[in-house]
């Protein structure tokens, strides 16, 4: 097997003596959808926070495209092409959808204080750049069907739409690796269907590799190429969905009793 696109090796992090993530390793091939499942408090989001640089791991390493990105500052990691969404929406609530997505273009833009403050003509560099990136953002708005929310402040949008705006903002960064933290939480079944469709689109058409944390087992089993199950910060098993789904420890961790996951969701 050649070098993995993205891999985590022996990742550990502890908070006040408690091991929140305990020797977790996995690797993701380019273009795959890789899901992490586990009960609440198993340490899934903590792994994401380590990857995106919000937490510093106690030990272990995170390798992205052959480069060690462990412990880099979050904004450095973003410039490497890793974007994420949050479990409890972290949008810029007093900006419009458009502006939120434009912020996603931040790393691709150059306008500084002086050129930003002094654009008074259509032909100026800042205005040109602004227009070019607005065109790109407009494509994402079309892709995610967000036209109606385009100029609304995101704080006033319905929950499901806010989740989409967050997804759109992450896409605006043109990520190579996209971390989705419970994207379907709070959505109704119709919205969930759309979401599955879009995630597939992002994988197939944009060629983005996706790391997914999700509680909806049906969705996980449908779209994932590989699944990692963890509990108490420790990995249980990693493999293709069918295998992980049937693993007795996974069933025990999830349900506390013998029952197939398919029926539970």
């Amino acid at each position: 097997m050649n070098e993995a696109f993205f891999s985590v090796e022996n990742l550990c992090i502890s908070f006040g003596g408690l091991m929140a993530v305990d020797h977790v390793s996995f690797s993701v091939s380019k273009g795959f959808i890789f899901s992490i499942i586990g009960p609440n408090g198993a340490g899934k989001t903590t792994i994401f926070n380590c990857i995106s640089g919000l937490y510093k791991p106690s030990s272990g390493s995170i390798i992205f495209q052959g480069e060690d990105i462990t412990g880099l500052k979050p904004h450095r990691i973003a410039t490497k092409g890793i974007a994420r969404t949050f479990q409890n929406i972290e949008l810029f609530s007093r900006m419009t959808t458009m502006e939120n997505l434009m912020l996603g273009r931040h790393i691709h833009m150059k306008t500084g204080v002086l050129s930003g403050a002094t654009f008074f003509r259509r032909g100026s560099r800042a205005a040109k750049e602004e227009i070019r990136h607005r065109e790109y953002v407009e494509k994402i708005i079309d892709l995610l069907d967000l036209q109606s929310a385009r100029n609304q402040f995101v704080g006033s949008l319905p929950y499901g739409t806010q989740k989409l705006v967050e997804l759109g903002r992450a896409l605006a960064l043109e990520p190579k690796l996209l971390l989705l933290d419970e994207p379907s939480a709070g959505m109704n079944s119709e919205e969930k269907q759309d979401l599955v469709f879009w995630i597939k689109d992002i994988q197939d058409e944009l060629g983005v590799t996706i790391l997914l944390i999700e509680h909806d087992m049906k969705m996980v089993m449908d779209i994932s190429d590989r699944v990692l199950a963890i509990n108490f910060g420790r990995p249980i098993i990693e493999g293709v969905p069918d295998v992980v789904q049937r693993h007795p420890d996974v069933l025990k961790a999830y349900l506390g009793e013998e029952e197939t996951i398919g029926n539970a969701s």
Partner: protein, 349 residues
């Protein structure tokens, strides 16, 4: 609703012929105003222009980036003293001195921004407050700066043309203020401004989207200090004389009051806030001259308070305005403006 055909229309300042017309009318009105208004009102307009610049500067920090500062009088002082000193000691021409002094203020803003990276709420408040106090203390005790007695502003000339009157100063001050307002508006509509707002709304999300928090938080302090420094430099010439006691803690609070009254996170609000509050500030100084209320206040003061203390009523009114606005209209004048606009759009329903 009008259809937009071009992305540029989203970001340009004046997107219709009607707006262009009003814009030109505004410029014309601002240009003719000082010739027909009495001198006192020209002086007041200068004062307003200066406070508008400060208010925008502070709003960039407080309203847009979500940081607090109780030390902006310090940057104001740096701007004022810097300009005067650079002109009288190093014989800089006015405009160069003004910009240089504002850059010094910006540098101090950057320095102050460093500890601010890790501080929140009350901790940031006390750090900025300490900074403001320290600046006035140092200036007040340093002989170079004229010590407690203060210094006089040198004669002002603009590209070789001597500027001696309020009318002359008006053209300098108002032009600079006008440019700075437009600059702030542009800045907030582009990449840097969006990064500021993003930090205010969710610093964690901003970080993970590639916004360098260290850089942009210190930048916000620097830009804010730059604006305040420019205003300070202009202020030195408005008064003609500056002393450390002018730049006290209360002044910092007044600046905050301007921002709150205008509306947090709104350039237009800041313009309104700066204008209205300056008017109020100057009018309240002579409250006893008001026709009916003045007499009542004086007799009330004679019986229950002191007449000498009457001017302090402005402090009471300012305080009340701050408290009531924060409680009932957190968006300030800008909030009023938006609601009035909506009211008239949908009138009579």
């Amino acid at each position: 609703m009008d259809m937009k055909r071009d992305y540029y229309e989203d970001i340009q300042l004046l997107d219709s012929k009607v707006l262009w017309f009003w814009f030109l009318m505004l410029v014309a009105a601002l240009a003719t105003f000082p010739f027909i208004a009495p001198t006192y009102y020209v002086y007041m307009a200068n004062y307003m222009a200066i406070n508008v610049i400060v208010t925008i500067g502070l709003n960039i920090l407080v309203g847009y980036t979500g940081q607090i500062s109780l030390g902006h009088a310090g940057f104001f002082a740096i701007g004022a003293y810097g300009t005067v000193m650079l002109m009288s000691l190093l014989h800089f021409p006015f405009l160069l001195a003004l910009v240089a002094a504002a850059l010094i203020a910006a540098f101090f803003g950057f320095i102050l921004g460093l500890p601010a990276l890790r501080l929140e709420g009350p901790y940031l408040a006390i750090a900025t407050l300490g900074f403001g106090m320290a600046i006035t203390q140092v200036i007040g005790r340093w002989e170079l700066f004229g010590g407690r007695m203060g210094v006089e502003a040198p004669a002002l000339s603009f590209f070789g043309i001597p500027v001696m009157t309020d009318l002359g100063r008006y053209f300098v001050t108002a032009t600079i203020a006008f440019i700075m307002v437009l600059g702030a508006r542009n800045l907030m509509k582009t990449r840097v401004g969006r990064a500021f707002i993003a930090i205010r709304d969710s610093d964690i999300a901003a970080e993970t989207m590639g916004v360098n928090l260290v850089y942009y938080k210190t930048l916000a302090f620097a830009v804010s200090a730059f604006y305040t420094g420019i205003a300070g430099g202009l202020f030195a010439f408005l008064l003609g004389f500056i002393s450390p006691s002018t730049f006290n803690f209360i002044l910092s609070i007044y600046f905050l009051a301007f921002v709150i009254v205008g509306g947090l996170g709104s350039i237009f609000g800041s313009v309104m806030g700066g204008i209205v509050m300056t008017w109020l500030l100057l009018e309240l100084d002579k409250i006893q001259e008001l026709p009916l209320i003045g007499g009542m206040l004086i007799s009330f003061s004679e019986n229950f308070m002191t007449v000498a203390g009457l001017p302090n009523i402005s402090s009471i009114i300012f305080g009340l305005i701050i408290v009531l606005l924060v409680i009932f209209e957190p968006l300030g004048l800008y909030g009023f403006w938006i609601r009035t606009k909506i009211y008239w759009k949908t009138w009579p329903f």
